[in-house]
């Protein structure tokens, strides 16, 4: 019988902080297999995050809105800078790009259903646009990725916005991968690849290299689509201040910044955990870049990477984002890691709440799989409804906080509404440590 934690404590067994059990298991796995660990999900390490911020609700010096009666607006308009038809969304919570291939067709359909029910957008991902997704999505953002899998002008014209992806928070500087288990006949056909191979996406676009080229690429995409559609530029959070400035110079209508807690369907663990910066550290950099260019609010900022609840939504917006995107949280809302599949997760060597082997295509919940039998377990109508519920909760929670801060619209939230409970978060978010006026690194006019 295995020792319990109490047994270990009684026996004086002390776990190494440096070589903890997960680290030991990783070394043992590497020695056995000779290849790096590939997994889904996002960074699992503890990072300064939205939980390290608190709102200063109104009292004497500020006047709150009536919590249940006074209107607190949630709609946002994205792509106003150049596009003939900007997106008008009813909630600032959007669905991040997740590919058909990484997810089943039914899961993609559910994302479209849920997003459309609450009037927000969903996003294609690497691998092209499926009819199910287009058909169920009122607002569909079509990703333009280095691989260009499934990219074609007909779908480009069907999209409501185009998102040029330079990187994602889980792997800035890296391309996607989709292992052979998930390259079904349909996925292979859409990507023009042999069925069953391990697909490794490129990390650089094939026909442009730097920001000056990107400006020309954006013009090409606008010309092809007759300047109708908003063009987003998505970057993984690293040198965010500079990347956002360059994206704006290149002509982006919307900039998407994805922090390192952002999810992935399959990436090397070393990449997920060790490349990029936390979402919290990226937002103020992006906002500073936009403000210095005089483009804050004219070029909209979407933030993603670890958004889990309405407080996170409100905090991201208070720091200056116009909208947020959710990926991992949306999958959980659909039914990912549901305890009802506990026995099956354990049979795969994982557990409900820990399952991250999206790359294997054996998802018991039928979401991150191309196996027809597993995929059939997932009901896209029920899943869509669950996602819509979750999106409504996020929106209502954000409104609750905003009203308490006296704001009649989520976009009225501001950094002044926030304080930090850790020095790290105060420095990254550039808001004062609670009870002080101290913003580490910034009270003396910190600059890049």
């Amino acid at each position: 019988m295995a020792y319990t934690d109490d047994d270990r404590a009684r026996l004086g067994l002390r776990e190494s902080a440096t070589f903890d059990r997960a680290t030991i298991a990783a070394i043992q796995r590497a020695a056995q297999t000779g290849i790096y660990d590939i997994r889904g999900w996002g960074a699992k390490r503890a990072l300064p995050h939205f939980d390290d911020l608190l709102f200063l609700g109104a009292s004497m010096s500020r006047y709150p809105l009536e919590g249940y009666r006074e209107k607190c607006g949630t709609d946002v308009v994205l792509g106003t800078r150049n596009a003939k038809y900007p997106l008008h969304l009813q909630t600032p919570v959007t669905i991040a790009g997740m590919s058909f291939g990484a997810l089943s067709g039914r899961a993609k359909e559910a994302l479209g259903r849920g997003a459309s029910e609450v009037g927000t957008s969903t996003t294609t991902g690497d691998g092209g646009m499926t009819p199910e997704e287009r058909g169920q999505s009122k607002h569909l953002v079509y990703q333009y990725l280095p691989s260009r899998y499934g990219m074609n002008p007909d779908d480009l014209r069907k999209a409501d916005a185009i998102e040029i992806v330079l990187g994602q928070g889980a792997k800035p500087g890296g391309g996607g991968m989709l292992l052979g288990q998930k390259i079904s006949e349909r996925v292979a056909g859409m990507r023009t690849l042999p069925q069953g191979i391990d697909q490794r996406s490129a990390s650089r676009h094939p026909d442009w290299t730097g920001p000056d080229d990107l400006a020309i690429k954006i013009v090409e995409l606008r010309e092809i689509t007759d300047w109708e559609k908003p063009i987003y530029v998505k970057v993984g959070a690293t040198r965010t201040y500079y990347d956002v400035k360059l994206a704006c110079h290149a002509g982006a209508d919307v900039v998407v910044v994805d922090g390192m807690q952002g999810g992935t369907a399959a990436t090397q663990d070393v990449f997920i955990e060790h490349v990029g910066i936390p979402t919290l550290a990226a937002i103020p950099q992006a906002v500073q870049a936009l403000q210095e260019l005089g483009l804050h609010r004219e070029v909209q900022l979407i933030v993603s990477g670890g958004i889990r609840n309405g407080a996170d939504v409100a905090k991201a917006m208070a720091l200056g984002a116009d909208a947020v995107a959710i990926g991992t949280a949306a999958l959980i809302a659909l039914g990912d890691n549901d305890p009802k599949w506990s026995a099956e997760y354990e049979a795969l060597g994982s557990a409900a709440g820990f399952y991250d082997d999206f790359q294997d295509g054996k998802d018991p919940a039928g979401i991150s799989t191309q196996d027809p039998e597993l995929a059939a377990r997932f009901d896209p109508i029920v899943g869509g409804r669950r996602l819509a519920n979750f999106l409504r909760v996020l929106t209502m929670e954000a409104q609750t906080v905003a009203r308490a801060c006296g704001k009649a619209h989520l976009t009225h939230l501001e950094p002044e509404d926030l304080v930090a409970v850790s020095i790290e978060a105060a420095a990254m978010a550039r808001v004062p440590l609670a009870g002080t006026s101290w913003i580490p690194g910034w009270n003396n006019g910190g600059t890049f």
Binding site: P153, R191, P194, D198, W208, I216, E223, I224, W227
Partner: protein, 258 residues
């Protein structure tokens, strides 16, 4: 993996580009019914918008492009478009159905992501010609720079001269014919595209190997050469390259190639 390659690519093909040195001196043959645009007078937006009109047919001439980017992009009609002069980036990008002739040189990404139709460049093309294109025929009568046919997904590309380094990188499907030679790293991480090269390849990329020219390949190559106007070439003088398919799955013994 084949390493039977030469570093002297240009010597084999020194003469092939001579006839395209002054391509803009050619005068396009124009029918009386052609609609004519002068890009020095009409904004590009207006020209491209006109070329996107529903039910478009006929012939169009674009004069004085002076290196403009995104000329004749997103066309989806069975029309003939002649561009008299040099063009910048992404000319004829995402073409569907149209026959587009560029009487000059083309910048980066000519005919990128083309789906169908034909694009002919009478001069040379810069890097990433035909990148990610899914279908149609791209003919470059002169040379093409680096990354020609990168991530090609079904297009046929015929190059009269040489191609630069890293061409056909991750090429997924389609055929690339080169009457001259290829620079370093030809076909790196190639999938199922077939490459026919008459001259030498400076070096081959990971998992790209020379393959036997079987009768079906002679026949296929002869057809491609004919469609591009090079029917006098002897297919037997070409070498076929493709994927060794050794890197299609992750394997610990292949880590040096990743």
């Amino acid at each position: 993996m084949s390493t039977d390659v030469s570093t002297d690519v240009s010597a084999d093909v020194a003469d092939v580009t001579a006839d395209v040195a002054d391509v803009t001196a050619d005068v396009a043959e124009v029918t009386a019914e052609a609609t004519r645009y002068c890009l020095s007078q009409t904004p590009l937006r207006e020209v491209n918008q006109a070329l996107h009109a529903a039910g478009l047919e006929g012939e169009f001439i674009i004069d004085q492009p002076f290196g403009a980017h995104a000329v004749a992009v997103g066309v989806n009609a069975p029309v003939k478009i002649t561009v008299n002069g040099h063009v910048g980036y992404y000319a004829a990008g995402m073409n569907q159905q149209a026959e587009i002739i560029i009487v000059g040189n083309a910048g980066t990404g000519v005919a990128e992501n083309m789906m169908s139709g034909t694009v002919v460049v009478k001069g040379n093309a810069s890097q990433s010609a035909g990148a990610t294109a899914h279908g149609g025929l791209l003919v470059i009568e002169g040379d093409a720079a680096a990354r020609c046919g990168i991530s090609m997904k079904g297009v046929d590309i015929v190059v009269g001269g040489n191609i630069g380094h890293n061409s056909a990188f991750m090429a997924q499907a389609g055929r690339l014919v080169v009457r001259g030679g290829a620079g370093d790293g030809l076909g790196d991480s190639i999938y199922e595209a077939r490459l026919y090269i008459r001259g030498a390849a400076a070096s081959l990329g990971a998992d790209c190997v020379a393959k036997e020219m079987r009768p079906e390949h002679h026949e296929e190559l002869a057809g491609l050469l004919k469609s591009a106007g090079f029917e006098d070439d002897d297919p037997a003088s070409y070498t076929r390259y493709g994927s060794a398919r050794q890197l299609y799955h992750f394997h610990v013994d292949n880590t040096s190639a990743y």
